[in-house]
């Protein structure tokens, strides 16, 4: 397996991987100790938003902060806004307002993230983008509400990190950084709720914009040999976890439920990462940064 240049790895650890994970862990522990377990949903949203902001600053992803014409700069804001909308649904118990806010964020995502070429052809691209983000985000949030714990943030984190692996093979470093910020923060959140058994679900509808947006933008912008399938699989893989909502699966022993829900997701993600690695090298032509 080929690894990126060492300076790039160290830089990622310093600017995106490390800070995002630590923010996920730190914010969740802080909220748990100061406010209690019932604030875990809000803590997850705060952690994700903070992670994106700090990562943007440390990694100098968008020095101007305000979104530019680059799609990834919009994804950072859309993920934060999508999570806040989900917090309105879950924490404030205003589902109509929260869903309307999320829909407004999705509309902005269609305008600013979906490439103009895809707005008309193929005709299913825009509905697929929005429906997939909604199904993944709110589906996992529902699963997290029913079975609080690390499963759902872990699934989304694994999907985001795989998306990052796919887009880095497609030579899009900025999109890798965006996916990593969300993925590592959710890994941090999952690590804490593994112990506290809290519900981190509201962070997921925002993270779903990161997942679908990174893969869509990566697919459109790339000049690599990474096949389309490698971009599609990480976006749809989290849907497999929704079998956990089926009563027959829900009634199973915890470890059986874990295997049924998690294994298919990880298998599909592994195929996606393998396809990207098999078809394109990681070399950027830049020996070091």
């Amino acid at each position: 397996m080929q690894l990126p240049p060492t300076p790039m790895i160290l830089d990622e650890l310093r600017t995106t991987v490390g800070p995002s994970f630590l923010i996920g862990v730190g914010v969740l522990i802080f909220y748990r100790l100061v406010l209690g377990k019932s604030y875990t949903p809000l803590a997850a949203v705060v952690a994700l938003v903070l992670s994106l902001a700090v990562g943007n600053h440390l990694g100098q992803l968008n020095p101007a902060w305000w979104p530019t014409e680059k799609r990834f700069t919009w994804l950072l804001w859309l993920a934060a806004a999508g999570s806040l909308a989900a917090a309105v649904v879950r924490s404030l118990k205003w589902p109509t307002v929260g869903h309307a806010l999320w829909a407004a964020v999705a509309a902005v995502a269609v305008i600013r993230v979906v490439p103009k070429d895809y707005l008309t052809t193929p005709t299913w691209a825009v509905p697929a983008f929005v429906l997939l983000a909604a199904a993944v985000g709110f589906g996992l949030m529902r699963l997290s509400e029913r079975r609080p714990g690390p499963l759902t943030p872990f699934v989304m984190a694994a999907a985001l990190m795989t998306a990052g692996a796919v887009v880095i093979h497609a030579h899009s470093k900025s999109l890798l950084d965006v996916a990593t910020l969300g993925g590592m923060c959710l890994f941090g959140i999952a690590a804490v709720v593994l112990v506290t058994k809290g519900d981190a679900g509201p962070a997921l509808p925002g993270a779903a914009f990161l997942l679908t947006g990174v893969l869509l933008a990566g697919h459109y912008e790339t000049f690599s040999k990474v096949p389309t399938t490698a971009f599609v699989l990480p976006a749809v893989a989290p849907l497999l976890a929704l079998v956990g909502l089926i009563p027959a699966v829900d009634r199973q022993q915890p470890w059986v439920r874990l295997v049924i829900v998690l294994l298919p997701v990880l298998a599909v993600l592994a195929v996606a990462g393998g396809l990207a690695a098999a078809n394109e090298s990681l070399a950027f032509g830049e020996d070091e940064y």
Binding site: D11, Q60, N62, P63, A64, T68, E69, K70, R71, F72, P115, D117, A170, H171, S172, K173, S174, L175, A217, Y220, E221, T222, F223, S224, S281, A283, F284, G285, E286, D287, E288, Y289
Partner: protein
């Protein structure tokens, strides 16, 4: 009648002088646009294979160039893919870059070309020094620098230098 004839003669003369204006067609064979990007411990060179444009002289000299950004090349195939992607040129969103001169002035040390350069959808007025000769062949040689962040290329801030050196060479026949 005489007045009508003189008017017609003048119109024909004006028309002939306009069609006789100097015009040089530019393409990827007679015009080279190359760039050098630098970082702390190295550099990479590249350029564009395809472009179209023309240099005209109708009273004032004017240069119009449209670069096909998808024809970008570099000294490394993988780097070419990265440069074409959204981190840098975003070629699929911005398939062309353009330059339209607004002023070409002769000074003591050569010419100064001023005009609007549009790259990655962002336009900025730039001025650069140039050596220009005219006649049957129009030649231009220029080396200058632009700040890539002026055009939204903020990727790799602090690792890849913001200033990019450009080298333009033209040798176009009438």
């Amino acid at each position: 009648m005489v007045r009508w004839f003189l008017g017609l003669t003048a119109a024909v003369a004006v028309s002939l002088s306009a069609t006789a204006a100097d015009k040089y067609k530019l393409d990827g064979d007679n015009t080279k646009i190359e760039f050098t990007g630098t970082k702390k411990d190295g550099k990479h060179v590249g350029g564009f294979h395809k472009l179209t444009g023309e240099v005209t002289h109708e009273g004032d000299w004017k240069i119009d160039v449209t670069i096909d950004t998808n024809s970008l090349y570099s000294d490394d195939e993988k780097l070419t893919g990265h440069l074409k992607a959204g981190d840098f040129f975003g070629v699929k969103d911005h398939p062309t870059a353009t330059f339209t001169s607004s002023k070409i002035e002769k000074g003591a040390k050569g010419f100064t070309v001023t005009g609007k350069f549009t790259l990655c959808g962002k336009s900025k007025e730039i001025s650069f020094p140039a050596e220009i000769t005219t006649g049957d062949t129009f030649t231009l040689k220029s080396e200058f620098k632009i700040d890539r962040t002026d055009y939204g290329m903020t990727y790799g801030a602090g690792k890849v230098d913001n200033e990019v050196a450009l080298k333009v060479t033209v040798s176009a026949k009438k």
